[in-house]
Symmetry: C2
Subunit: 149 residues, 2 copies
DNA sequence: ATACTTGCAAAATCTTTGCCTCCGT
DNA sequence: ACGGAGGCAAAGATTTTGCAAGTAT
């Protein structure tokens, strides 16, 4: 919730800047994404937006999410299942570890890996412009962890 | 070409083992994949297979590729464009760097990153079962490299 | 009032599946 | 001959788009 307003504010700036209109639908979708701490797919964003306003169509969610993505304030991931999963861009980049049994997604950041990726790219004659990394794993032991799904 | 026969042979073993039939289509598709050093999508596999035998349908390519994938002798990647890209499983795992300008795919392997991925997973309480890593980059300078695409 | 947005339905992609025929064993 | 395999077309799943109507500025 801390950076939620920041997300919405930044989006409003971008809208104003590009002559795009700040509509109720966009505001709602921005709010949904700003408050999402997980990685919802489009259907899920649609579902959550519809809790606030059930007159938002799936197309609009697709179109709005595309806007956010193009504005760089939203990132798209793919975690194995076919559809795209979205998450707002954070100041600190991070990667994901997916629990192959539960589907749970854990975020992490490893400076050393980040550094090595730059290095590998340079060694191959490239300037790194981005990367995707997902680790898939199975929980070790049964540490007490009450949450299901 | 070195391991091409190995791929086909292994597939024939798997077929025999599971009571699956060694058909002309499968043989052809296996041959195409065995000889592909790049990362063709299904359409491309279909196209290449049709050069050898134009009576292979797209469905069959999909079905056969799925078989290969399930048998573990073929890997599926996604390099940003929506469709799946395939490559036969190599003895040595490797990752990919995608040239964001040309789409060219460069394979590489970095032991240190591999090691760190294991470490990160374990640190988070997981046993690493797999991973996906793609670097996206832009070529530095114009080093003499004769091949275009 | 203008032109950006939306909803809806249709279309576009990529992939899977039903069904009947065909072929490997 | 039996049952797996293939071709074809239809169906699925996800995402995009055309168009007429609605709305922010």
């Amino acid at each position: 919730m801390v950076k939620a307003n920041e997300f919405t504010k930044r989006f409003e700036e971008i809208c104003a800047q590009k002559g795009m209109r700040m509509t109720g639908q966009r505001r709602t979708i921005a709010r949904v994404l700003a408050n999402s701490k997980d990685h919802p797919d489009i259907e899920e964003v649609h579902r959550r937006a519809n809790v606030i306003d059930d007159r938002i169509s799936l197309s609009t969610v697709y179109r709005t999410v595309r806007l956010f993505k193009e504005a760089g304030i939203l990132e798209r991931h793919e975690f194995g299942d076919g559809r795209g999963r979205y998450e707002r861009t954070q100041s600190e980049h991070h990667d994901h570890l997916i629990d192959v049994d539960s589907g749970e997604v854990i975020e992490f950041r490893d400076e050393e890996i980040e550094r090595l990726q730059q290095l590998v790219a340079r060694r191959l004659g490239y300037e790194l412009t981005g990367h995707r990394m997902e680790l898939y794993g199975r929980r070790l032991r049964a540490e007490p962890k009450p949450d299901g799904e």
